[in-house]
Symmetry: C2
Subunit: 352 residues, 2 copies
């Protein structure tokens, strides 16, 4: 392919070019492109012929310049002060906001408390009061999310989701992970590390809704296999820390066939701290790159962490919306991010 061919192939045609080629004015070309009618069959045919020949694509930059609108995105998510898992998500939002601000996309973030369902609704109302173009939310509560969705529809605000999927919102845009599959990934890892005769513990700490999906996936991995290990499920609360510590130690010490633990959220470090006095070689798989988890990963106490990519989820959530506003890029309906497996040797590439 030589330079000449290149030039011919990819000359950037404008409406003016098309108008000249078809022997009409740019107004007529515009009417054909936008099906605004008021075009004679003769002119229509000539313009369409040219359009077919050159594969015209409008310049998205010029189009947006004319639109000249300020787009507003409200983000509604759990307060990172309450759960450090959300801190990277805030970072992702901030980065995207910075990147798209010069283009006229404004982002405003509202935090709710996962300990108070009512704050979710309240903050959503606050967000809607600023009448954004779209509400991007990480909805921890299903029922309340549906209520908010109704409010949005009434206010003419579209909705996008990240991190937590609401089944009933099938048509909405979603960026997140298949949590069930993350359970399978964890099972695959543990399966490689321990022998089939030992018992595996699934440990839920401060149970939340999404954890059962992970448990299901974990168990599903072993279904239909010839040797299936024994799996025991535990559910502990950290609210009473002394009780939690005692139960954790019991789990490790007295249930002595347990060789591995799958912690279904980011709190593996809490468990490890609780059992720090005990010298037992456990295989541990947990979630999320919290600083405390990374510390235990690098010390070799956690074998693998599964990365839920909160930062990327949030960044993409905003980015998809912005690029759709600005350049008409279609928004993926359901974007399930890769399930990254983290070891001490590759963890640095997933931070920041």
């Amino acid at each position: 392919m030589d330079a000449l061919e290149w030039y011919c192939m990819d000359k950037k045609y404008t409406i003016k070019d098309i108008a000249e080629l078809a022997g009409v004015s740019k107004g007529t070309v515009d009417r054909v492109l936008h099906r605004r009618g008021k075009v004679s069959p003769k002119a229509l045919a000539r313009v369409e012929k040219i359009l077919k020949e050159i594969d015209y694509q409008p310049n998205p930059i010029a189009r947006n310049l004319k639109n000249n609108k300020v787009y507003r995105i409200c983000v509604l998510m759990p307060d990172p002060k309450e759960d450090a898992y959300w801190s990277p998500a805030v970072q992702g939002i901030k980065e995207a906001a910075r990147e798209f601000k010069p283009f006229g996309v404004l982002v405003n973030t509202y935090y709710y408390y996962t300990s108070e369902k009512i704050s979710f609704i309240e903050k959503s109302k606050e967000a809607l009061n600023s009448s954004p173009d779209v509400l991007l939310m990480a909805p921890v509560f299903q029922k309340e999310a549906l209520e908010i969705f109704k409010h949005c529809q009434e206010a003419g605000v579209s909705v996008a989701l990240f991190n937590n999927l609401i089944e009933e919102f099938s048509t909405q845009s979603f960026v997140g992970q298949d949590l069930t599959q993350t359970g399978r990934v964890a099972a695959g890892l543990i399966h490689k590390l321990v022998d089939n005769s030992s018992t595996i513990a699934i440990l839920h700490i401060d149970e939340e809704k999404h954890m059962s999906l992970k448990e299901n996936g974990f168990k599903a991995f072993f279904e239909g296999r010839s040797f299936t290990p024994e799996i025991k499920t535990f559910s502990l609360q950290t609210s009473n820390y002394e009780a939690f510590k005692k139960q954790s130690i019991d789990l490790v010490k007295n249930t002595n066939t347990i060789s591995s633990v799958f912690v279904t959220n980011s709190k593996a470090y809490v468990f490890l701290k609780a059992i720090s006095g005990i010298n037992k070689n456990l295989t541990i798989v947990g979630y999320d790159l919290l600083p405390e988890n990374i510390k235990y990963l690098e010390k070799g106490h956690i074998d693998f962490l599964i990365h839920q990519k909160p930062k990327r989820q949030a960044y993409l959530g905003v980015g998809y919306l912005a690029e759709n506003f600005l350049f008409g890029k279609p928004i993926p309906e359901e974007n399930l991010l890769p399930i990254d497996i983290i070891t001490p040797e590759n963890v640095m590439y997933y931070l920041d």
Copy 2:
């Protein structure tokens, strides 16, 4: 934060707004912004005061519209017909080209043959003949790359690299992976799966330059640890397949303390095919998501694959350049992509 505050914070100021606020004309503001001089100290002070107050950022869209240039990127990379590793990279290039074409960024790809050094130089000349704005290349050959770099400088064409780093090009932009660290990742995985008494084989198939880095990283992982396993390095050629097969079988059968094999490139599947007759439980870690490798991964014969992300490397290589052209976004000097660990349970998210 209410709607009013929002409005005040993020009003989109234009040059015209600034001119009015400072009581000068937009021409003067323009001269201040671009340091074109010919501005009285009085006017300069007034404009700069306003600029400081409002944190003005020019509209990248309008700026680009004015520039109205067609940007040309030539990509120079190994022919995917020769090595399937490169096929996803071609996909990445194609996707980026499609995405940025409406913005006036044109991409043309040239393939060279890794079996013929001369074709690398030849194709680079062909690429330079079309006088692109930048040459993005995956340089397998160091010495030849430097020569091409000289040609580019003479022709005023800037250079960006992906996949293969050339040490001497320290100032150039690079998208790729730290290959030494991938070796450490592989070692970490094998270390978890096998006991320290067994022997680990490092297997180079059809040796290339980059493999030694992986070997170094692999060995470095064990340095300073209390129990270090024995590591044996093998180097086989597939050009004579019968000999290769015999050597492979020898490796597995006769060197019978070997419990795990680290294949330093994408050809793990070739090795597994060669030893398919032998029933021995080997731990195998290899590279790259070739269909044949995935087949063996899903059958459980390969334990882990390390994903070198050729598609993303190529996509980002083009994307960074395009966004720099279009919106003046800075190009990261060295972007080392995460080293993804692939199992049968997460492989689907890394494909396509």
